[in-house]
């Protein structure tokens, strides 16, 4: 847990669904007629987020991401636990919460399908009591590079253009909290990069707090400073990607090249003695070290560079996907 003054506080959040199907049960005359199955979608989740922070909210299908997001959005009421956003309770100060909230779900559109994008913008501006609406729409259009799209009906936009417009609409009223669920789903890499760029730019302009849920880990690596990883409704990890790398124990590889035959048995032995080093393979002009954890790399490098001239260095880090997979496998064991 991070030690700072949190702006979004989630404490012991739990959501249970009652999975009942009376008709089917009665018709089939199954035993346990009146017993409903309780499904715990979110189980005692706690985390804090600082204002202006972009946090990736990750997990496999059914891990509880969307349920948490819907509770933070004030759509679903938790079974137990509390949510506090900038000092307000979203279930009591509903109107104030909605005024400060921005939501974008990749597969669902807020834009009016048959009207020009600017009409959706003006309607949205009126909903959120924005003064000087034309000026504001112009500013956001500049920021999200959608000026040319304002007069086009939504139905004529490509998926990438539509997502930029969706995000522009989300940021239009400068919300303090933004919930993004799969904002780049179905986009090509160019559109995705542009979305990453505009999200980062918008956050730096408005100091909005973002909770980003995505299965595309490039989104998370590009824009998030921190991740919260869920498994079966529980928080499996909360911290930076580097911290996850250290914690997960996923193996990294570094290949260090030397000008001539410098790989001495003595050096190989010393590297092997570093805690966290998995294996060392020495050749006449290079050494390949496999290790676990970000800090170990610095120790290996310090040790080698103090005694040998280094000609080349090639490093292969585990991807975020590898880290998450390793974390899941560890949790299963």
């Amino acid at each position: 847990m991070h030690k700072y003054n949190p702006w979004l506080k989630v404490r012991n959040l739990t959501k249970e669904y009652r999975d009942s199907n009376w008709t089917r049960k009665i018709l089939r005359r199954t035993p346990g007629l009146q017993e409903d199955r309780i499904v715990r979608a979110v189980d005692n989740v706690s985390f804090d987020i600082q204002q202006g922070e972009i946090v990736g909210y990750l997990g496999s299908n059914g891990a509880g991401k969307s349920t948490t997001i819907k509770m933070i959005a004030g759509i679903l009421t938790p079974t137990s636990g509390t949510i506090e956003i900038g000092g307000i309770n979203p279930f009591i100060d509903t109107y104030k919460h909605k005024m400060e909230l921005g939501v974008a779900f990749g597969q669902r559109s807020k834009l009016l399908w048959d009207l020009p994008v600017k009409e959706s913008m003006y309607y949205h501006a009126a909903l959120y009591n924005i003064k000087e609406q034309s000026k504001r729409v112009y500013e956001i259009a500049e920021l999200f590079e959608i000026h040319d799209l304002l007069k086009k009906p939504t139905r004529q936009l490509s998926l990438g253009q539509r997502m930029r417009c969706e995000l522009a609409l989300t940021f239009l009223h400068m919300p303090k909290l933004i919930l993004l669920d799969e904002p780049t789903i179905g986009l090509d890499f160019d559109s995705r990069d542009l979305i990453h760029k505009v999200i980062k730019r918008a956050v730096s302009e408005y100091n909005s707090t973002i909770l980003l849920s995505s299965h595309d880990l490039k989104d998370v690596e590009s824009v998030c400073s921190r991740i919260v990883l869920l498994r079966k409704g529980r928080v499996l990890f909360d911290g930076s990607i580097e911290e996850l790398s250290d914690k997960s124990g996923a193996v990294s590889t570094v290949v260090i090249g030397f000008p001539s035959d410098h790989t001495l048995p003595e050096m190989t032995r010393r590297i092997e003695e570093i805690p966290g080093v998995v294996s060392v393979v020495a050749k006449p002009d290079e050494v390949t070290v496999m290790y676990r954890g970000e800090r170990i790399f610095n120790r290996i490098l310090t040790m080698i560079s103090s005694s040998r001239p280094i000609l080349s260095l090639e490093r292969k880090e585990p991807s975020l996907e590898d880290l998450i997979r390793t974390s899941y496998q560890d949790a299963k064991q």
């Binding site: 669904y17 299908n61 059914g62 891990a63 509880g64 991401k65 969307s66 997001i69 819907k70 959005a73 004030g74 759509i75 679903l76 009421t77 109107y95 909605k98 005024m99 909230l101 939501v103 779900f105 597969q107 669902r108 559109s109 807020k110 009016l112 048959d114 009207l115 009409e119 003006y122 309607y123 009126a126 909903l127 959120y128 009591n129 009906p153 669920d181």
Partner: protein, 260 residues
């Protein structure tokens, strides 16, 4: 917020102007057919109602039907099916107000686009058949129609909440459309039905959606229809709103469309 919603509705009706125009052409054909059909029926019978009165009622009822008509699939079906209702819920406006302003805007847009045609139909088919032209009757007819629109809106909104509980509403929707058409008096005056059935229909809201405002617009006893109608229409608006509020609360509590 109200003007923004109404503006959105007007723009939407302008965006669909060709579709509305084609539908209105069909409506005009239906009005003309019904006019001559009912005129012929009443001329060949010794019913106490005047043929001209019935015919003008039918024309008025069709015009009122156009203005009280709600979306064919209800207000929520599309949003629930696509999952966008979740975005609507997060907006700082209730679903009731959001749909009401947009719907009123669409009706206003329709009036702006095809108003002259309605005036022409009124002058051709209704005005010659009413006993005496009175501005008060027109104003009362307008108020009655506004209340009828609110009645139709609250009923449709309450009915649309079924979408949250079922996977398909096609059958229910078709049954509802048939019931509203027959019980509201949009195809024939309810006076021709047996007395018992008339009393039964008085207990349902549909009569006040088309029959009442049409009678206010065309009958010589328009004041009676108007005063009685105002109370009952207002009562139904309140009742249907309460029903809607109750069901939508339950619906939103169990709504889980967004998935994992």
């Amino acid at each position: 917020m109200i003007t923004a919603g109404i503006r959105q509705g007007i723009l939407l009706s302008f965006a669909y102007r060709k579709a509305i125009f084609v539908r209105l052409l069909g409506e005009v054909a239906l009005i003309i057919s019904l006019y001559f059909l009912w005129t012929a029926v009443y001329k060949s019978s010794d019913n106490q109602m005047q043929a001209a009165g019935v015919a003008s009622y039918i024309v008025a009822a069709r015009i009122v039907s156009i203005f009280t008509q709600t979306p064919a699939w209800g207000f929520f079906f599309d949003a629930v099916k696509k999952g966008t209702v979740i975005l609507d819920i997060t907006k700082p406006i209730s679903l009731f107000k959001m749909h009401l302003y947009r719907w009123l805007g669409q009706k206003l847009g329709q009036l702006l686009l095809f108003g002259p045609m309605y005036v022409l139909i009124y002058c051709l088919f209704i005005l010659p058949n009413i006993p005496a032209f009175e501005w008060e009757q027109i104003i009362a007819g307008f108020i009655s129609m506004m209340l009828a629109m609110m009645c139709a809106f609250t009923f449709e909104l309450a009915f649309s909440t079924i979408t949250f509980f079922t996977n398909s509403i096609q059958g229910l929707n078709e049954a509802k459309a048939l019931l509203v058409t027959l019980a509201s008096g949009s195809l024939f005056p309810l006076d021709i039905l047996p007395r018992g059935l008339q009393i039964f229909l008085s207990l349902l809201p549909f009569k006040y959606i088309v029959y009442t405002p049409s009678k206010v617009l065309t009958s010589s006893d328009w004041l009676d229809y108007f005063t009685q109608g105002v109370y009952l229409q207002s009562a139904y608006i309140v009742i249907l709103y309460v029903v809607y509020s109750f069901i939508i609360r339950l619906a939103l509590q169990r709504y889980e469309s967004a998935g994992g």
